[in-house]
């Protein structure tokens, strides 16, 4: 058995779909060939059954058409009041989507899936409303006629002779959870019509004659049956996919449908899509963009419609630039691995007998490629495009410039004739002819094809008239001049054509270059932005200028609420929120809320949605030119990426800060383990020497004292550690009260009385020091650490002085000693955690004390500094801000 490769991507897609589906509501379509088969009736019956089972049913919109039986079924089903819309003086009633979303029923009944909503509604079509309901998890029952399906639209149009405007894309139909075919044989339907059960009796005859012809009904019924059968096929296939693991996969077929920019090729797309569905193949639609000739307005519009059609049918539309159609198509076929090409049979083009059709050329180049030729519809007779509307190469549009160039051509010829008459005195006529040729060529170059042709004719005519025997007549005596005439004309026309093509190419190239520079400019400016505000500035500045529009950037804040970067009046936050949630564009020119003033575009980044771009054109609406759209999409991608980048820059900064914290913690752990074990080792050792009890008395006493001192220093270390750790994790919490500084100094000195026993301590505090707002316990800690530092690093007998004075708004506290002074390292670094003046000295203490002091003092909005004294010694200065102490009622002395 041939080993087959299972396509893992396919299975991922299946799983993704299943996951998506479980949250989505289920759509059940009651499908029929035409009106009157009983779809609404069947829907209501099914709904009543569900109501009986206890499901919360809500009637969104049901058309009874005054049919008695249908109306009776409606009784007892709760209904949602409809929304009224005022449009051009009329009051229209529409289905209330927001009301349904708010009510959150389990099941909503909505008739007529293909209905177009009144202007001003959120979506243009009712099937979009249904999509939104399904996405919100609400089940929906709806009805649909076969003529409303997009892919069958043209076939039905052919059968009935009328085109139906309201269509539903096939995706909607194919992805519905269930389709119920409500079938009625044509004879029975006609009988019902006669019996008046379908329409009101008065209108029956008219309706019957126009629509209910038996032939029509049979054709429609067959279409409906076949379409549902196709759907079942897809269902069966996907069921097989899900259930079986090792099925044989045939290599998927891929169809490439090639279209020209003509409206008639819409039919080609639809046919191609039907064919693809039949063959169970993928399909792409391509168009080769040839630079030859100007693209008329009609061609641009046709291209746009084809694009929209392809997208609504679920195909991808690729616009390929290239000169040679066959070459471009073949290359693309190779890139995309298509195995069949669908071409329109071009039958109306006049061709040189020796030139081969596109199909032949492709077949010759690649004999293996399957070619399918479908006939496009007969093109609608092209409305005569007035001469003025066609923009001639080089000149502007309009009638007047055209006349102007012709006039200029005439003048030029007259001038040439005059010069020629002068030259004829010196040259032979055969040389003078070149002058006319030169004129014709110049005219073609400068003024366009029409002027060039006219100039050529005029030149030849005047040459003939004025300079060929017999003069001043149009009779040609020598046939060789005929040859010259023809040649001159040909040269002028060819030159004109070449010049026009060159000019067009140049213009296209400049356009392309302009766009490319614009994109590069936007990309460069966005790459320099590291904050959201900068990105918003780029949007409102550069990008807005490029599109001649006003642009606003809407980004979500930390709680996923959208806020506009700068308050712009044309931004409607609710629409922006909708766009953000659904990741679909909305606003003018789109299918959703088309009546809104501005266009809202979602900004998608690889990780997630990053915001919404709101664009309000200065005048008119955004040009539907696909190139402009693509440029806009490129800008949106760039903005989305830039936003994502700024987001990650912020995260990176946070991470750096946290990493620094981690580093400190690790350093702490490392240092602690050493500095804790040292005193512990000493204590243990000393205690063990006491155990045998055989030491002499003074020795015992000194060992005991040593143990006590070690525990005191250990206590100091642990206190500092705990304080620092607590402050790092919780932040510094201060219990601020108004204190007298001398109390705190006194308390600190008392605490260190034993440590400072060997030193001389002097205090000098001004008598009228104001109260300071402090956390007493923390500030005592600071003084204790500084004094401890002074005691540890100065020899016994040194003097330690504390003095304090107050200036206008600062309290200065000085702790001075006259010991050896600061070590050689930078004074500032002393305050860094774990820095000690002399590394690894015998003096214990990790180096935390001063770091803690700085943390506490800075939390009080103060500063602590250290400097050397002359001739030797160290001075610590603590500065604290003085506030206004609370008022004290003074009293007089007794």
């Amino acid at each position: 058995m041939k080993a087959t490769r299972i396509d893992p991507d396919h299975f991922l897609q299946v799983i993704a779909n299943e996951n998506k589906d479980s949250a989505r509501g289920q759509l059940k379509i009651f499908f029929g060939a035409c009106a009157g088969v009983g779809k609404t009736y069947a829907m209501l019956q099914a709904a009543r059954q569900r109501l009986h089972e206890g499901v919360a049913v809500l009637v969104g919109e049901v058309q009874t058409h005054d049919r008695e039986a249908t109306r009776r079924l409606l009784e007892g089903l709760p209904g949602l009041p409809r929304r009224t819309v005022q449009y051009r003086g009329l009051t229209l009633h529409e289905f209330d989507l927001d009301g349904a979303l708010a009510a959150r029923p389990s099941l909503v009944l909505i008739d007529e899936l293909a209905h177009a909503n009144a202007p001003g509604s959120r979506h243009a079509k009712r099937w979009q409303d249904v999509e939104e309901l399904l996405a919100a998890g609400v089940d929906v029952y709806t009805t649909l006629n076969v003529q409303h399906l997009e892919s069958l639209n043209d076939i039905v149009g052919g059968i009935l002779g009328i085109r139906v405007r309201e269509t539903v894309p096939d995706q909607c139909f194919d992805h519905a959870a269930d389709v119920v075919l409500v079938d009625l044989p044509p004879d029975d339907l006609l009988a019902r019509l006669d019996a008046g059960k379908v329409y009101l009796p008065e209108a029956a005859e008219q309706a019957r004659r126009n629509f209910f012809r038996k032939g029509n009904l049979i054709a429609l019924r067959e279409l409906a049956l076949r379409r549902v059968a196709d759907r079942v096929n897809i269902d069966v296939r996907s069921y097989r996919d899900r259930k079986s693991v090792h099925t044989v996969w045939a290599t998927k077929e891929r169809l490439m449908i090639c279209v020209k920019a003509e409206l008639s090729h819409e039919k080609l797309i639809r046919e191609g899509v039907r064919l693809a569905q039949h063959l169970q193949a993928d399909w792409i639609v391509v168009h080769v963009d040839r630079p030859r000739g100007a693209r008329t307005q009609g061609m641009r519009e046709a291209l746009l419609r084809l694009t929209k059609l392809a997208e609504s049918l679920g195909a991808e539309f690729a616009n390929l630039p290239g000169e040679d159609v066959a070459q471009t198509l073949l290359e693309y076929v190779r890139t995309r691995n298509a195995n069949k090409l669908v071409l329109g049979r071009d039958r109306r083009q006049l061709r040189w007998p020796w030139s081969r059709s596109l199909a032949d050329r492709i077949a010759d180049a690649n004999p293996d490629l399957g070619l399918i030729l479908l006939s496009a519809a007969r093109p609608a007779p092209r409305a005569r495009v007035p001469l003025a509307a066609r923009s001639p190469a080089g000149t502007g549009t309009g009638l007047r410039p055209h006349l102007r160039s012709l006039l200029l051509a005439t003048l030029a010829c007259a001038f040439t004739t005059f010069i020629a008459s002068l030259l004829l005195l010196f040259f032979d006529s055969s040389n003078v002819v070149m002058l006319f040729m030169f004129t014709a060529v110049l005219l073609a170059l400068r003024l366009g094809r029409a002027a060039g042709a006219w100039g050529a004719v005029l030149s030849v005519a005047s040459f003939d008239f004025f300079f060929v025997e017999p003069r001043f007549s149009f009779a040609v005596s020598d046939t060789q001049y005929l040859f010259t005439f023809v040649l001159v004309l040909a040269v002028a026309l060819v030159t004109g054509e070449l010049a026009a093509r060159l000019r067009f190419k140049a213009r296209m190239a400049t356009e392309g270059e302009r766009r490319a520079t614009a994109v590069a400019l936007v990309a460069r400016e966005l790459s320099g932005a590291i904050e959201t505000e900068q990105i918003a500035a780029v949007c409102t500045g550069t990008i807005a200028r490029l599109f001649a529009a006003r642009i606003a950037l809407v980004v979500p804040d930390l709680e996923e609420h959208l806020t506009c970067a700068d308050q712009a009046e044309f931004v409607d936050t609710s629409v922006a929120q909708w766009v953000y949630d659904h990741a679909q564009p909305a606003g003018s020119g789109t299918q959703v809320l088309p009546a809104t003033e501005a266009l809202y575009l979602p900004l998608k980044a690889p990780m997630r949605m990053r915001g919404v771009l709101v664009m309000c054109m200065e005048e008119g609406s955004l040009s539907p030119d696909p190139d402009e759209r693509r440029f806009l999409d490129a800008c949106c991608s760039l903005i989305g990426l830039a936003l994502e980048r700024t987001h990650f820059v912020e995260i990176a900064q946070d991470t750096l800060v946290r990493m620094e914290g981690e580093r400190l913690r690790n350093a702490l752990l490392a240092a602690v383990s050493h500095d804790l074990r040292t005193p512990l080792t000493a204590i243990r050792g000393l205690a063990e020497t006491l155990e045998p009890n055989d030491l002499p008395a003074e020795e015992q006493a000194s060992v005991s004292r040593a143990i006590r001192l070690q525990t005191e220093s250990l206590h100091q270390l642990v206190t500092n550690l705990l304080d620092l750790a607590r402050m790092q994790s919780e932040g510094v919490r201060l219990n601020l009260e108004w204190h007298a500084l001398d109390e705190i100094i006194g308390s600190a000195l008392r605490r260190l009385s034993s440590v400072l026993a060997g030193h001389v301590v002097r205090t000098r505090l001004a008598a009228d020091l104001p109260l300071v707002e402090l956390d007493a316990v923390s500030f005592e800690r600071v003084l204790v650490n500084v004094l401890d530092n002074a005691a540890k690093y100065t020899p016994a007998g040194s003097t330690v002085q504390i003095h304090a004075r107050a200036s206008a708004d600062t309290m200065h506290v000085f702790v001075e000693d006259d010991g050896p002074g600061l070590p050689s390292i930078d004074a500032e670094r002393l305050f860094e955690a774990f820095t000690r003046g002399t590394k690894e000295s015998s003096i214990t203490g990790v180096g935390l004390g001063l770091a803690l002091c700085r943390t506490i003092v800075e939390a009080h909005a103060g500063t602590i500094d250290v400097e050397r004294c002359v001739p030797h010694g160290t001075r610590f200065e603590i500065r604290l801000p003085l506030g206004t102490p609370p008022h004290i009622d003074q009293e007089t002395l007794s």
């Binding site: 006194g746 109260l771 002395l893």
Partner: protein
């Protein structure tokens, strides 16, 4: 004179041991209790002259025991508390404790405080015969409102004198801010400790040799004040 009886309420055995050894060396009889329940029994039966209570008892909050004991005994109470638990100390003092020791504390400090409390109890119980109180070079006459320092009279405002009196009355105890404010200024000033601090600064400047390193008017940061060094 019978030996002074001290009750230790502490659940940590080693702490109990060293306190007991230190106090017994000073010639006191020491009884031990490990829980508040046991403490109630011991205090009722032994009638100690001083009780040392650890605030972190396993079965009950030490403060409740103190509050209950205060209902029937005026014996001085010394509480043991951890660092950074100022509110705890203040509460204990407010319900009736007299002094506190912050862990880790040393033996000399313990002995000093115990002696101070016992002396106070003696002074109070014996009753003051004269209205003159002396500490260091300061003489205070409670009846005539005179304060003399090293022979020189000191001028004091009525409030300052009231404050001094309050401190004297509570001699040996740590008096909390709240208690002082209540006594000297009244209930409306209970949450204005800055008044107290300013007036205490004034007192220290008037009465102490080195206001920054006072010998008598001791500040217990964030808890209260204490008057030390009274000579009878």
């Amino acid at each position: 004179m019978s030996k002074l009886r001290v009750l230790i309420v502490e659940d940590e055995a080693d702490i109990r041991r060293f306190i007991r050894l230190s106090l017994e060396r000073e010639g006191m009889t020491v009884f031990e209790a490990t829980t508040a329940a046991q403490a109630r029994i011991e205090s009722a039966s032994r009638q100690p002259h001083l009780v040392i209570v650890d605030l972190g008892l396993p079965d009950e909050d030490g403060k409740d025991f103190i509050r209950d004991m205060r209902n029937w005994s005026s014996a001085p109470v010394l509480v043991l508390s951890a660092r950074d638990r100022e509110e705890e100390k203040v509460e204990a003092l407010n319900v009736g404790a007299d002094d506190y020791l912050t862990k880790p504390f040393g033996v000399p400090e313990l002995i000093a405080r115990v002696r101070a409390q016992l002396r106070r109890a003696n002074v109070v119980s014996v009753g003051r015969t004269s209205s003159v109180v002396k500490f260091g070079t300061i003489h205070v006459d409670l009846a005539t409102y005179e304060v003399i320092r090293a022979g020189v009279p000191v001028h004091m405002t009525p409030t300052e004198f009231r404050l001094l009196t309050a401190l004297i009355r509570g001699y040996g105890k740590v008096i909390t801010h709240r208690q002082l404010l209540l006594e000297v200024w009244g209930p409306g000033y209970v949450d204005r400790p800055h008044y107290l601090r300013v007036y205490m600064t004034n007192l220290r400047q008037k009465l102490e040799d080195d206001p920054a390193q006072p010998k008598h008017l001791i500040t217990e940061l964030q808890v209260g004040y204490r008057l030390a060094g009274i000579s009878t």
